[in-house]
Amino acid sequence: MDIEFIVDILPRLLNPLKVTLLVSIISLTLGTLLGVSLGMIWVASTPRSFQRLLLNSYVWFVRGTPIIIQIYIAFFLLPKVGLNLDVFWVGVVALTFNSVGYQIEIVRAAIESINQGQWEAAGSIGMTQRMTFFWIILPQSARRMIPPLTNELSNLIKASSVLSVISLFELTKAGDAIIASSFKFAEVLLLLSVLYFSLIQALSAATKYLETEVFNFDKADFESGKTFGQIY
């Protein structure tokens, strides 16, 4: 193992690391905005309605096809419809498209996990459904979305490595280039793993903080019924 070599190439991977981080975070953020909106539409729609069928088909497609195919579709299809984006933004579109599929499910599950009594109590003080959703249900669901969204973020960071197939110069692609010129597989792969690992650990710690310190209202997970078990 050539430690000196690893120290040597580290600076050359910092920029690609930034690309990996950016493409994942932007995709997660866009994915959350769209995922929450579409998840709300899912929850508000009736079973067997057109909206729900459409959203379900979307979720099934994303879940049922490999991400590499989704990336190629974005890469070849976007120029066909007149969108000649920079490869970075093609990557964002592909990852966002993928992530929304999973996030619709995350949002739906989080909203449906909120006790029906919260809707009833809000209705009884004269709140409309819309007000109830924004003031009561969404803030409580948000906290429950954080752990699965952390999962999703780590998935996205790792999935972004597949963007090397459309020659986005992110971490994996940069590593590939160094391997091609130096043939030092072990050192490069070790370093890549450590970098991915550290990135994901750091972001997980951040979301854990968000979950326990910022959304710190239901440590006892009050409305899920655990409080009853503890007191009575």
Binding site: N115, I125, M127, P139, R143
Partner: protein, 253 residues
């Protein structure tokens, strides 16, 4: 003066009747307690009055208007839009068996959110009102805690304050103490009694007969989705007319 009039109310769950042709009048300042065994339709009646459950037939009239709809010029029944129904619901306060405090809000904001978001009052005014009401239910010192930090009895008193914040014409209590031990039950009933003394109109579903005797003007006994007997509290406990009422009271007295 008549405040609430339930007219020919019917509710079915599938083909099972939950409420059969209910007629009931409640006057301003009256305290009505609904008793009867579980599944007799007491809770369903309360939930229909503020349209948490939509009745299948019949009308709810509250202080000059129908809940859930209105009669147009052509004498036709027109269902309320969701926003109209939400508006009418402000007049009816509801206290639930399971408290259902808003888990993400501090106690003060649980009470203030109605005036703030529904009545669009300023943050300062809403919080001032909330503080006043929390003092009234003896919880002023817990204003800045979260619901999970409170006992069940305290949570239920917050729920009462939350309902009062909308200044409702009618308060509905749906088994408010069924999840509480005797000491916490006492705390909650004390508050309900104080409100009753102030002349707030209320309907209470409860299995606590002693409390019912103390607070009620009128007792409604229900069985199998029907109102069997409506009587003054003195009369029904000393001289129940219907055989079914006699039998039920023989279990609890």
């Amino acid at each position: 003066m008549l405040l609430l009039s339930v007219q020919n109310l019917c509710k079915y769950y599938g083909s099972t009747p939950a409420l059969v042709n209910i007629n009931l009048d409640v006057h301003m300042g009256e305290h009505v307690v609904l008793i009867g065994s579980s599944g007799s339709g007491k809770s369903t009646l309360l939930r229909c009055i503020n349209y948490l459950e939509e009745p299948d037939d019949g009308r709810i009239w509250l202080d000059g208007q129908y809940i859930g709809g209105h009669i147009d010029q052509a004498n036709q029944w027109v269902k309320d839009q969701p926003s109209e129904l939400a508006h009418k619901r402000r007049d009816i306060g509801m206290v639930f068996q399971g408290f259902h405090l808003f888990a993400h809000l501090k106690i003060i904001d649980n009470v203030a959110i109605g005036p703030r978001r529904v009545l669009k009052k300023s943050k300062a005014t809403s919080r001032e009102l909330a503080r006043y009401l929390l003092d009234k239910v003896h919880l002023g010192k817990h204003a800045d805690k979260y619901p999970w930090q409170l006992s069940g009895g305290e949570q239920q008193r917050v729920a009462i304050a939350r309902a009062l914040a909308m200044n409702p014409k009618l308060m509905l209590f749906d088994e408010p103490t069924s999840a509480l031990d005797p000491r916490l039950t006492h705390e909650v009933f004390q508050v309900v009694q104080e409100l009753a003394n102030e002349g707030i109109t209320m309907m209470i579903v409860t299995h606590e007969i002693k409390f019912a005797q103390k607070i009620a003007d009128t007792i409604v006994f229900m069985e199998k989705g029907e109102i069997v007997e409506v009587e003054t509290v003195q009369k029904i406990f000393s001289d129940p007319q219907d055989e079914r009422t006699q039998k039920f009271l023989s279990y609890v007295l």
